[in-house]
C-alpha cells in the first residue's frame, strides 16, 4: 500500500467527440482535502464522477487505497458521495437515509443504530432524525447528506458542489464546518467547486482545471501567489496582466514592458515555463498589491508608473480604482477602507507603485 488515497493515471473521457477530460493524472494524499476548481465544463465534475464510478473512463486507471477501481461498479467502491442536489431519499426519514448505506453493508442492528445516531450527532441533527427531507431546510438536508456519506466510513469522501444551493451566509458557515469535520475524522475529501474563494477556504491543495486539463496543482497560497499560467492567475481572484518580455543580464532577469517599464525580477518570481531570454511573458500583479501615490510625489523606484483614475468603485471594505496608465493600458488597484487611507476621485492624476515582492511572471497564453 502506498500513501495515496486516490491515484488517477492518464484518464480520458470523451462525450461524443468532445474531450471532457484529457489524459489526466493526479495523486491524492491520504487525509488530504483536495478541490477541483474550474469554470463549468472544465471536466471537474466528470473527473469526480469517474472516481465515483458513475462515468466510465475511455482510457486510464483509477486506483483507490491501492485497489484498482477502474472497472468496479459504484456500489462496490466504498466511496461516500455528496451531491449538489443532496439526493436524499424523499420516502425515508433522516435516520433511514443515514442508515441506508449501513443496511446495504448488513451491519448488525445495534451497531447500525449507534453509528447512525453518532453520525447525526456529528452534524448536529439528532433532534431531526424522524423528519422527512421535505420537512428540513436546505442546510439541514445538506447535513443529512453529509452524515449519510460519512457513516459508511468511506475510503474517500466525494463532494460535488455541495454548498452551491445554499445562501451566501450559510455557505460560509458550512465551509468552515466541512473543513473542521474533515480534519476531525481525518478522512480524505475530494471537492468540486467553481467558486475560488470556497476552494481556498477548505482545501489543502487545489487542482485548477480548464478544458479537461489540469492547469496547476498546488496549495491555495501557491496557486494564488505563483499561478502556473495566465488562466490560473486570472481565474483565482482578480489580477492585472502587463505584457512584455524577459531579458537576462549580469544582475539577473529583467522584465521589459510597455510603457518603458523595466523591472528587475528575482528568480523565484518567474514561473519555470516563463524562463528564458526573449520569451513573451505576462507580468501578473494582484490589485491589492498596487499602491497609489499622488502625482508629483517623488518617485524613484522602477516599479512606479504614471496614470489617471478613470473610475472609483467603493464597496465598503475596500475601494477598487480603475487606472489608465500613460502607455494606454488599464489596470485595477484595490485599497482597503481605513481612515488614514486617502481616497481618489475620477480624473485624479496619480502614480501607482507595484509592490516588488508581489510580482509574478507567467508565460503568455499562446493565441
Amino acid at each position: 500500500m502506498d500513501d495515496f488515497a486516490v491515484r488517477a493515471e492518464r484518464i480520458t473521457k470523451r462525450f461524443d467527440q468532445a474531450v471532457a477530460v484529457g489524459d489526466l493524472s493526479l495523486d491524492v494524499h491520504r487525509g488530504e482535502f483536495l478541490s477541483f476548481l474550474g469554470p463549468s465544463g472544465c471536466g471537474k465534475t466528470t473527473t469526480l464522477r469517474m472516481i465515483a464510478g458513475f462515468v466510465e473512463p475511455d482510457a486510464g486507471t483509477i486506483v483507490v487505497m491501492g485497489e484498482d477501481m477502474t472497472d468496479r461498479p459504484p456500489h462496490l467502491r466504498n466511496l461516500g458521495m455528496v451531491f449538489q442536489s443532496y439526493a436524499l431519499f424523499p420516502h425515508m426519514t433522516a435516520y433511514d437515509n443515514v442508515a441506508f448505506g449501513l443496511k446495504m453493508r448488513k451491519v448488525s442492528s445495534s451497531e447500525l443504530k449507534r453509528r447512525v445516531l453518532a453520525a447525526l450527532d456529528l452534524v448536529q441533527l439528532s433532534a431531526m432524525q424522524h423528519r422527512y427531507p421535505r420537512q428540513l431546510s436546505g442546510g439541514q438536508q445538506q447535513r443529512v447528506a453529509l452524515a449519510r456519506a460519512i457513516v459508511i466510513e468511506p475510503y474517500v469522501l466525494l463532494l460535488d458542489e455541495p454548498l452551491s444551493n445554499l445562501d451566501a451566509k450559510l455557505r460560509k458557515a458550512m465551509q468552515t464546518e466541512l473543513r473542521d469535520l474533515q480534519q476531525r475524522l481525518g478522512i480524505t475529501a475530494i471537492y468540486v467547486t467553481h467558486d475560488q474563494e470556497e476552494a481556498m477556504t477548505v482545501s489543502d491543495r487545489i487542482v485548477v482545471m480548464n478544458r479537461g486539463q489540469i492547469m496547476q496543482v498546488g496549495s491555495p497560497t501557491e496557486v494564488y501567489r505563483k499561478p502556473a499560467n495566465e488562466f490560473v492567475a486570472g481565474f483565482i481572484g482578480q489580477v492585472n496582466f502587463i505584457a512584455g518580455r524577459l531579458e537576462s543580464s549580469a544582475k539577473g532577469m529583467t522584465f521589459i514592458g510597455n510603457p518603458g517599464l523595466v523591472i528587475p525580477i528575482p528568480d523565484e518570481a518567474i514561473h519555470a515555463a516563463a524562463r528564458g531570454s526573449g520569451v513573451a511573458v505576462e507580468l501578473a500583479i494582484r490589485p491589492e498589491a498596487i499602491a497609489i501615490e499622488p502625482r508629483g510625489h517623488a518617485v524613484t523606484s522602477a516599479e512606479a508608473l504614471h496614470g489617471l483614475v478613470t473610475r472609483a468603485v467603493y464597496t465598503g471594505a475596500s475601494t477598487t480604482y480603475h487606472i489608465l496608465l500613460d502607455g494606454g493600458q488599464s489596470i485595477q488597484a484595490v485599497e482597503q477602507d481605513r481612515p488614514e487611507v486617502r481616497r481618489w476621485d475620477e480624473g485624479d492624476l496619480v502614480t501607482v507603485v507595484l509592490t516588488p515582492r508581489a510580482l509574478y511572471i507567467v508565460p503568455a497564453t499562446e493565441q
Binding site: 465515483a52 464510478g53 458513475f54 461498479p73 459504484p74 456500489h75 462496490l76 467502491r77 466504498n78 466511496l79 461516500g80 458521495m81 451531491f83 442536489s85 439526493a87 436524499l88 431519499f89 424523499p90 420516502h91 441506508f100 448505506g101 446495504m104 453493508r105 449519510r148 456519506a149 459508511i152
Partner: protein, 252 residues
C-alpha cells in the same frame, strides 16, 4: 353528460321496459339487480359469476400489465438504444389502433394456432390493450423522479437491483398504482376485444350485458350502467389522489 342523466332517470323507472321520459319513481330495478346477483328464479343466470370472472381477469391483467409496463417504461426512461422510438411506439400503439382490428387479429391467431384456454386468451388480449396505460403513468412518474437518487443509492452500496427495489420503485409507486387501476378498469369494462375472444364458459360482465341487450332493452342495464359509472368515478377520485392526471394525459 345527457346520456348519463338519461340512464340515471331510467334506472329509477317503475315500468317493465325502457320508456322515455320514464314513468314513476322506484328502486324496483335495483331490487331486480339483487335478484339477479342471487340468481333467483325468473332472472337471467350468471351475473355474479360474470362479475367474478371479469374481476379475476382484471386482476391478472393488472398484474401482468404492471410488470411489463414498468419494465418498458423504465427501459425507455433510463437507456438510450437504437430503435428506441420504434420500441416506444410499439407499446403505445394499441391505444391508437382500432380495437376491432386487435380483436379480429387475436381471434385469427388463436383459431389458427389453438394456443391457450379462453381465460388466458382474454388475459393476453387485455394485457396488450392496457400496457400503454402503465407505460404512460409510470413514465410520468419517472419524469419527475430525480435520477441522482439512484446514483446516491449505488454510491452507498446498493446493487442495481436493490436500488430499483428500495429507491426507484417506492418513488414511482403512484404511477404504478394508477397504471394498475387503469388496467383493471379497462379490462373490467372492455367490450370489443372481449367480444372476439370470449366463450360461453368464460363470460365476462360486458358479454353478459351484451346478451341481455340482444334480447331486450331492459332497465336493468341502466342500473348496471349507473353502477359502472360510480365505479369509474371512484377510480378517477383515487387516481387524482395518486398522480397528476393532467400530466398523464399530456396536458402541461
Amino acid at each position: 353528460m345527457s346520456p348519463i342523466f338519461i340512464i340515471l332517470l331510467t334506472s329509477f323507472t317503475s315500468t317493465e321496459s325502457v320508456e322515455f321520459p320514464p314513468r314513476g319513481f322506484s328502486l324496483m330495478w335495483y331490487g331486480r339487480l339483487i335478484d339477479h346477483l342471487e340468481g333467483s328464479s325468473g332472472t337471467k343466470p350468471g351475473l355474479s359469476s360474470s362479475i367474478l370472472m371479469s374481476a379475476q381477469i382484471g386482476l391478472v391483467v393488472a398484474i401482468l400489465a404492471v410488470v411489463v409496463g414498468v419494465l418498458v417504461a423504465y427501459a425507455l426512461h433510463k437507456y438510450a438504444f437504437p430503435g428506441k422510438e420504434v420500441f416506444r411506439n410499439l407499446f403505445l400503439l394499441p391505444l391508437m389502433f382500432p380495437q376491432l382490428v386487435i380483436g379480429v387479429g387475436l381471434l385469427l391467431v388463436f383459431s389458427e394456432f389453438r394456443w391457450f384456454g379462453f381465460f388466458e386468451r382474454l388475459v393476453i388480449g387485455h394485457v396488450i390493450l392496457t400496457i400503454p396505460f402503465v407505460v404512460i403513468t409510470v413514465g410520468a412518474s419517472l419524469e419527475v423522479y430525480e435520477r441522482q437518487l439512484e446514483e446516491a443509492a449505488m454510491g452507498l452500496g446498493a446493487s442495481a437491483f436493490k436500488t430499483f427495489l428500495l429507491v426507484t420503485l417506492p418513488l414511482i409507486r403512484p404511477g404504478v398504482i394508477a397504471g394498475a387501476i387503469f388496467a383493471f378498469v379497462t379490462s373490467f369494462t372492455q367490450f370489443t376485444v372481449t367480444f372476439f375472444l370470449y366463450s360461453g364458459s368464460i363470460k365476462p360482465l360486458p358479454m353478459w350485458i351484451y346478451e341481455i341487450v340482444v334480447m331486450s332493452l331492459d332497465p336493468l342495464l341502466a342500473v348496471l350502467s349507473i353502477l359502472l359509472i360510480v365505479l369509474a368515478i371512484v377510480v378517477v377520485a383515487v387516481l387524482s389522489k395518486l398522480v397528476d392526471v393532467r400530466r398523464i394525459f399530456g396536458a402541461r
